[in-house]
Symmetry: C2
Subunit: 215 residues, 2 copies
């Protein structure tokens, strides 16, 4: 079976979203030693900023008339959708950046949506997807930044409501505690949040690992 993992963090070290995703991947491999994990690191090996427009216009152009750029973009969108369709389970690691969606993950969403197979709704119908998402501050009820997380509701909307996946969200807040000295007074709360998130990651990873093999 195949787990497809995508990381949108721009960091390769000390990435809080990768820490969670690593646990989930480890649980998958512990349950299914030797299984395949396909991966993309779009925060580091970025998708081209011009690809989506080329995929959209390419999709509206008869194949023989497409430019080389359109052909390449249409093929890229198809490859991204192939990965999602081929996977038995999907793991997205996507941090909140500047109160919004990762620019790199939005580029990914746009490209996926440009492929005709994803243009119809719920093309991931029922597929298990885990979203590991992290936020530097705190955005819960009663905090000064309540309502400022404009990423997670959008990611739920696309992955679950639009693509139809069976979505589990593992989230951690206050990842900047210990990094930004202004947040030092929240150390206990942050440690508790981290422990809770890592435990949720183990649980989500074990659930993926327990998926029945396709007949």
């Amino acid at each position: 079976m195949t787990l497809f993992r995508l990381d949108a963090s721009i960091r390769t070290h000390d990435s809080a979203s990768r820490e969670i995703a690593d646990i989930i991947e480890e649980e998958w491999l512990a349950a299914r030693p030797g299984d395949t994990v396909a991966s993309r690191h779009i925060g580091v090996e970025t998708l081209p900023a011009t690809a989506w427009a080329a995929a959209v216009t390419g999709g509206m152009t008869p194949e023989p008339d497409r430019t080389a750029e359109q052909r390449e973009a249409v093929a890229l969108a198809a490859a991204l959708v192939d990965e999602l369709i081929a996977a038995d389970a999907v793991l997205f690691g996507v941090p909140l950046y500047n109160y919004g969606v990762s620019q790199h993950f939005k580029t990914y969403i746009d490209l996926v949506c440009a492929d005709p197979r994803a243009a119809g709704e719920r093309f991931l119908g029922g597929k298990p997807v885990v979203l590991a998402t992290v936020r530097g501050g705190a955005y819960g009820p009663g905090t000064p930044r309540e309502g400022w997380d404009h990423s997670t509701p959008y990611l739920r909307r696309i992955i679950a409501d639009h693509w139809g996946a069976d979505l589990t969200v593992v989230e951690r807040e206050f990842t900047l505690v210990g990094v930004n000295p202004a947040l030092d007074s929240f150390k206990d709360q942050a440690a508790q949040m981290q422990a809770g998130a890592l435990e949720s990651a183990h649980r989500a990873g074990r659930a993926l690992g327990a998926l029945p093999s396709p007949v």
Copy 2:
């Protein structure tokens, strides 16, 4: 005086957001013939997908130790902030794409936020900004897609709440009526929405044109 105009549409022709922005720019120039309009077309001349990460890591690196890529990215972020600070008024044309924020405009926001002058909040304190935004479908109360516009609330959050600008939003829905035959029954409603949006655009443009000149 200077108007800074930025377009995030991936289209150069038949762009609904450009139609609104064109009217606002024309009203500005009608009130101030010979004035300057600086512009960027980030949906077509895209910002590099790797620039933001390089600007962030570059900002944390002492200047002499920065790589060439970091230097270039830090300079790009500074140039984007220079444009906003130098402008007397700002015009953003940003369509809704795949129920979310334009990937290119999020890249722009990230880069602006990477500059130290924008890291403090409300750096556009009170500056008049008009956001021209358009949506292919309808997202109002009672529609099947109510709540699916995840772009406009985020753009308000960043431009008004975070950057502190004095924001006016001119918006138009149902721009795909006449393009997508499935929406043909909404032709009257769409025409009414378009007329209303264009009238709002004239009003917003005249308000910008009436801004007092700096002493």
